[in-house]
């Protein structure tokens, strides 16, 4: 308690959270016609994030299982207690809580009213400061640029989060924070990142027209110390598309205390975009002004600092890790649990340091002893499903998975309940939002229906995600679709595996398959002969799928 009092004056808050809620534009590298890799930003949730008339559709507010996706992140933060008053190690309430902002939410200025309204609507106990930047969906501002811009508002170590990470219950933010707390003090790690096992896409259920699955990124890490060592970037891929190059200085570094002779390489994992960083990272960002993307450019570069000597010497002082390594070294000399001091099995011998074989420079004197390493939390696939909702596939996937976990969540209040006709057949793995009206003899299976939807008679909805205010008229068949806000499906229309922009209207009797329905190409509906062929193929699949409807994956058994 006394200790807490002594430090409370200086350390009122441990972390602040920075949530980036952009347009959903992702940096990605594509091969341009000239066969060179170009960094472009690509919005993979299009058309769901296109404007609904004049009204924007922020990505952060796209619901996942009827909850805007940003709520998942915010509640994750809340659970970890990133608040000045209740971080696990602080006992003293800061005197002026009101002036402290827990979460800095950065969004494009045109999204501000909606997002601000949503996050301040009383759901969360967090103090959220919504800041804006000017951006249009076409231009793209990278996270690094944003952080540089808002650096003055971040005065302590920070957690950088995306708005679209859906964390599994088994992975709590405190796990990541605790790892960062321990390691930054014990050996001077500068950042902690979290990668999760990327969902394995099911080839059969993929609809190619929805856009491609982002390619997996190979990473190299050390298992014993849980250190991220290398992230394969598109630059690397461009330079050597055949081989992945690992610096030998990483694998064997004569003269350094830290070597990683046994590393792991995998492309199973995906970056969660959750980064716990020291404040000094921001200073480093100011040094390296050309970095734009945090995930694609900065983190891979940051990994290199830990084993490349010149980088270390050059940037080590900027990172300036506050660490008590030296004092801890004495105390933990005999600790067997400390990761850095590797405990070798009995059969391993150290190289005998014979008198003339002493290394040419003394590691103690030339390098500071802090490791400057990037800690890594790996979330394996077996420990629960995690995903980032940054493309349509993952949006559908996470909705289906969340459905599988919940049971029969119809609205509970009687008023909303009364809107649902008792003669409607609603399977237990369906979620229905409040004030949604469902008419008689309609069948709904494995679907998420948003709020205020109106669903007519004899409609069939299977494996769909309907956002709020959708209207499905009588006798329409909707299968495996994601319908944006305010989508209208006319009577007896048939939709199969389509994605629609907000406000799209499907005329009665029309049918679409495997399409992205944009308001702009309203008239240019599938007149492609190739697509027709594909449609034929898919027809077969669907038939089979309909026949076995208790299997959640779509048409895996076509092979």
């Amino acid at each position: 308690m006394d200790l807490g009092v002594a430090t409370s004056g200086r350390l009122t808050r441990e972390f602040s959270a920075v949530v980036i809620a952009g347009f959903g534009n992702e940096y990605c590298y594509v091969y341009s016609p000239s066969l060179a890799l170009d960094l472009i930003s690509d919005n993979r949730l299009v058309p769901l994030t296109r404007n609904n008339g004049s009204e924007p559709c922020p990505k952060a507010l796209i619901p996942v299982a009827n909850k805007p996706m940003i709520d998942y992140v915010l509640s994750w933060i809340e659970q970890a207690g990133v608040k000045g008053s209740c971080t696990s190690s602080r006992l003293i309430l800061p005197s002026n809580t009101s002036s402290l902002l827990d979460v800095l939410l950065i969004c494009p200025s045109i999204h501000r009213p909606m997002i601000s309204h949503h996050v301040h609507s009383g759901l969360s106990t967090l103090h959220i400061d919504v800041q804006t930047y000017d951006e249009s969906p076409e231009s793209n501002t990278g996270t690094c640029t944003l952080l540089r811009h808002f650096a003055s508002r971040i005065s302590e170590d920070f957690i950088l989060l995306p708005c679209d990470f859906i964390p599994p219950p088994s992975l709590s933010l405190s796990t990541i924070l605790n790892k960062n707390r321990t390691e930054s003090l014990s050996d001077g790690s500068v950042a902690t990142v979290c990668w999760f096992a990327a969902p394995q896409p099911d080839k059969n259920s993929l609809v190619e027209d929805w856009g491609s699955i982002p390619p997996s990124v190979p990473i190299v890490w050390d298992d014993a110390t849980e250190t991220l060592l290398q992230v394969d970037t598109a630059d690397d891929l461009d330079q050597n598309s055949e081989e992945l190059e690992l610096r030998m200085s990483l694998l064997s570094q004569y003269g350094y205390s830290l070597t990683y002779p046994r590393t792991k390489l995998s492309n199973r994992y995906q970056d969660s975009h959750v980064y716990v960083c020291r404040r000094s990272i921001l200073d480093l960002l100011h040094e390296k002004k050309h970095f734009d993307s945090f995930r694609e450019e900065f983190i891979p570069w940051l990994c290199k600092i830990q084993y490349q000597r010149t980088k270390r010497e050059k940037y080590g002082h900027i990172l300036n890790p506050i660490t008590n390594v030296i004092t801890q070294d004495v105390a933990l000399k005999h600790s067997t649990l400390r990761a850095q001091k590797k405990v070798y099995s009995k059969s391993v011998l150290y190289q005998s340091n014979d008198a003339d074989a002493s290394s040419p420079f003394d590691p103690e004197s030339t390098t500071d002893s802090s490791s400057l390493r990037v800690g890594l939390v790996l979330h394996p696939a077996t420990a629960g499903f995690a995903t980032r909702v940054n493309n349509i596939h993952s949006l559908l996937d996470i909705n289906r998975r969340l459905l599988a976990e919940t049971t029969y969540s119809l609205p509970t209040d009687s008023q909303s309940r009364s809107l649902i006709d008792p003669k409607a057949q609603i399977s237990s793995d369906t979620m229905i939002g409040a004030f949604t009206q469902i008419s008689e003899r309609t069948t709904i299976k494995k679907s998420v229906i948003g709020k205020h939807c109106v669903i007519g008679k004899m409609a069939r909805i299977t494996g769909c995600v309907l956002l709020d205010h959708c209207v499905i008229e009588d006798g329409a068949k909707v299968d495996g679709c994601i319908l944006g806000k305010n989508t209208k499906v006319g009577a007896k229309a048939e939709l199969s595996r389509c994605v629609s922009q907000a406000g799209y209207e499907v005329g009665s009797g029309e049918s679409f398959k495997n399409e992205k329905l944009d308001v702009s190409d309203w008239t240019a509906g599938g007149d492609d002969s190739e697509e027709d062929e594909e449609d034929d193929d898919d027809d077969g699949d669907e038939d089979e799928e309909e026949s076995d409807d208790d299997d959640e994956g779509a048409a895996e058994d076509s092979d």
Binding site: G255, L265, R268, Q351
Partner: protein
């Protein structure tokens, strides 16, 4: 022990009554132990007083091997004799040992494997080891695993045994290690990348395609490769099919893993327990000796299961003294910890033996100090001698007050001293003339060794070292880096230093770190564009050591290339090839030696100029000669893969400036002009360039000559100018000049067309 294993084995292999075979490659195929191995195969060098081959037999016996083929190349008689007296070849040992003599032409393990194939030695899965193995790993477990795997996967042709250690383990060779890429679950070896101490590699390149089939890969740089391979019967035949495989790891493993056609798998067995290592160089000789003395190899330790059958008493501090009581240790002598002393050895007063191995029948004189050294049987060390970190062969006589510095190797039978001083890393062997008769029967097969010794002897003249009055020794020259040495080879001189006893090679290691930092500096200074870094890497990573090497090899390559061009053109000249054929030949040459186009041009121009014969008296015959040669061969200049007439003139100028044909410059240039090899505008351009005026060159005869050429050029340009001005009214002026100009202008146009078409051809050809 062995029968017990056999019983176990038979139960294990009840369904397949197969004897477990092993093949020992008893030859090292390298010369790292010279001169200790000039008269003796490496596998008979003793380590801890037992020949390496016995340690290997012992290791295999532990694994329950029933049939061993020993492939011997050099000194097979000695190996045969050794096998005959080995306790494992006695009846009842349960092991059948068959020595196989292979041809002298077997220069690599790959050749040996091909020999195994042609002889049809192996019938099933077999254990392949090298003849310098010290191991206590239960190879039978590995064989079991291998056979299980073979039941499900017929393509799993080999299992390599690797020992987990640290990256900087003392027994792990820095000169010859490897990075393994293994599948995390199955331990299938997916990638093998050899790593050398020098030249240091900066990156390990893992092929991306393996990630698609194996998402989880472990990259291990901490394995000691024990060179124990469990091979299936296909392995020798694969060697036979791929006759270019030399090394088992670098060629065979790498080849199998990267081949799209073979579709075979190689697995690793990561031994976590046990000990296995190869005595592959003098450095590992030391570390393995120390490992044995420190009992890492238990149960194979000197006081128990000593492979040569000696009995040692294990004393406190890991001291081993022969048990038969014949060792005489003077009261005032000191024997430190981790020492081994063979029978009948006498250690005199005040002698000190520190962490060393002394053979049988040795005499250590008064006050001698033996520090971290290995002394074979029958050696006498005189009083007051100091021996540091060296290996001393059999029956060496080191006379009093001799000092032998670290890293030295002293061959069998050498006499050195008194009062001599052998510098660090010295290598001594006995002069051949003084050989005793007992070597005679081996003379024939020792041709190879002899020739090498001859070389050394020939070099004796240049070496003046005082090896003592009674010495019969000759000092081997330090292995100077050969000019044409291929750095890619494991046996390159600098890499050898990592294998040398007592050599930390810290200067090489340091230059590695330095180069690394320098390339990173460049990298970080220019915004980390990795591409630039890569471009700069070759220059910045060159150490101070190899800079002169690099430039000299460049020079050599270039002069070689010039020579080649000259020869090929001479051939073309004399045999009257067509210009096109000659051009093709030049292009091939250029690709082969990778030189820039301008070098080719220089070489061609100078060759053509030299082709012109100087005719005394000059005048018209000379002019005809020039015109003849240039009209015949001039077009070649523009067909070598690119057209740059300005450079042609410059090359002509520089060549003429340093040649006897200086006076012909003007005429040659004119002839080139006539033949449209160069144009007027080119001459003007050349004339304007600073270099052509000899500016910036140090004054000298050559510069003067260049200057002269330039003046000739100026005169020519004057003529052009005059002609241009008089062209309008030069109807009657007629004469040579006028005709020439007209003709030239037409020709010029045609020439341009031709050039263009040539360009197209060339570029397409290069693609």
């Amino acid at each position: 022990m062995a029968p017990k294993f056999n019983a176990g084995k038979e139960n294990l292999l009840a369904d397949e009554a197969e004897v477990l075979q092993a093949v020992i490659l008893a030859d090292s195929f390298n010369k790292r132990f010279r001169p200790l191995t000039t008269r003796k195969p490496r596998c008979l060098l003793p380590i801890c007083n037992a020949p390496l081959l016995d340690w290997t037999f012992e290791s295999l016996a532990l694994a329950g091997v029933q049939e061993i083929f020993v492939i011997c190349r050099s000194h097979p008689e000695q190996i045969k004799a050794k096998i005959a007296e080995s306790r494992w070849s006695k009846t009842g040992s349960g092991i059948k040992i068959v020595p196989i003599l292979t041809a002298k032409e077997t220069f690599s393990p790959g050749d040996a494997m091909r020999d195994i194939y042609t002889r049809g030695l192996v019938t099933g899965d077999f254990v392949l080891v090298m003849g310098d193995l010290v191991s206590n790993i239960r190879i039978d477990e590995v064989v079991k695993v291998h056979k299980e795997r073979r039941k499900t996967n017929k393509d799993a042709i080999m299992t390599m045994v690797v020992k987990e250690s640290g990256a900087n383990h003392r027994t792990r060779s820095r000169a010859d290690s490897a990075v393994f890429g293994l599948d995390s679950e199955t331990f299938e070896c997916l990638h093998y990348e050899p790593v050398m101490g020098y030249p240091p590699s900066t990156v390990a390149s893992i092929p991306r395609e393996i990630l698609s089939a194996h998402p989880d890969i472990e990259i291990r740089n901490d394995f000691i490769d024990c060179a124990i391979d469990i091979c299936s019967v296909e392995v020798p035949s694969l060697f036979q099919d791929n006759f270019d495989y030399l090394d088992i790891r670098r060629d065979f493993v790498h080849g199998v893993l990267t081949s799209d056609l073979l579709m075979k798998n190689i697995y690793c067995y990561v031994a976590k327990e046990g000990y296995a290592a190869r005595v592959q160089d003098t450095k590992s000789y030391e570390s393995i000796s120390k490992d044995i003395l420190s009992r890492w190899t238990f149960p194979l330790v000197p006081d128990n299961n000593h492979p040569a059958g000696h009995l040692y008493e294990h004393r406190r501090g890991n001291k081993y003294i022969d048990k038969d009581g014949t060792v005489i240790l003077a009261r005032t002598s000191t024997v430190g910890s981790k020492c081994l002393i063979g029978s009948s050895t006498k250690v005199s007063d005040n002698a000190q033996i520190i962490s060393s191995v002394v053979g049988q029948n040795c005499i250590i004189g008064e006050g001698a100090i033996i520090n971290n050294s290995y002394i074979f049987n029958g050696t006498t060390v005189g009083p007051g001698c100091v021996i540091e970190r060296s290996i001393i062969g059999f029956d060496v006589n080191i006379k009093e007050n001799t000092r032998i510095d670290k890293g030295s190797l002293v061959g069998d039978g050498v006499i050195i001293g008194p009062n001599a001083h052998l510098e660090a890393f010295g290598r001594l062997s006995k002069k051949r003339g003084i050989d005793t008769v007992d070597d005679e029967d081996e003379d024939e097969e020792d041709d190879y060794a002899d020739s090498e010794e001859e070389e050394v002897e020939a070099a004796q003249g240049t070496i003046t070292v005082n090896l003592g009055s009674g010495s019969n020794a000759m000092l081997w020259p330090q292995s100077a880096p050969d000019e044409d040495e291929n750095d890619e080879n494991v046996e390159n001189a600098k890499n050898q230093r990592f294998m040398r006893l007592g050599d930390s090679a810290s200067d090489l290691a340091f230059s590695d770190a330095g180069s690394e930092s320098s390339d990173e500096e460049s990298e970080s200074s220019d915004d980390d564009s990795d591409f630039d870094k890569r471009l700069e890497l070759p220059t910045s990573s060159s150490t101070s050591l190899d800079l002169p090497d690099g430039s000299s090899t460049d020079g050599i390559a270039e002069s070689e290339f010039r020579n080649e061009v000259r020869l090929s053109l001479e051939r073309a000249f004399t045999e009257g090839h067509s210009v096109d054929n000659a051009a093709v030949e030049l292009k091939t040459l250029r690709m082969a030696s990778n030189v820039s186009l301008s070098r080719v041009r220089e070489a061609v121009v100078s060759a053509i100029v030299e082709r012109i014969q100087i005719i005394d008296g000059g005048g018209i015959p000379q002019r005809q000669e020039i015109a003849h040669v240039i009209s015949r061969w001039g077009p070649l200049i523009n067909k070598i893969g690119g057209v740059d007439p300005v450079e042609t003139i410059a090359a002509l100028q520089t060549h003429c400036a340093s040649s006897k044909r200086l006076l012909l410059f003007g005429q040659i240039l004119a002839a080139l002009y006539q033949d449209d090899v160069v144009e007027e505008s080119d001459i003007r351009k050349w004339h304007q360039s600073l270099l052509s005026q000899g500016l910036g060159l140090s004054p000298g005869v050559r510069t003067d000559n260049i200057r002269k050429c330039w003046e000739i050029g100026s005169r020519m340009i004057q003529q052009f100018d005059e002609r241009d001005s008089s062209e309008d009214d030069s109807e009657e002026d007629g004469g040579d000049a006028g005709n020439n100009t007209d003709g030239n202008e037409q020709d010029e146009n045609e020439g341009e067309d031709e050039d263009d078409s040539e360009d197209v051809e060339d570029s397409s050809g290069e693609d």
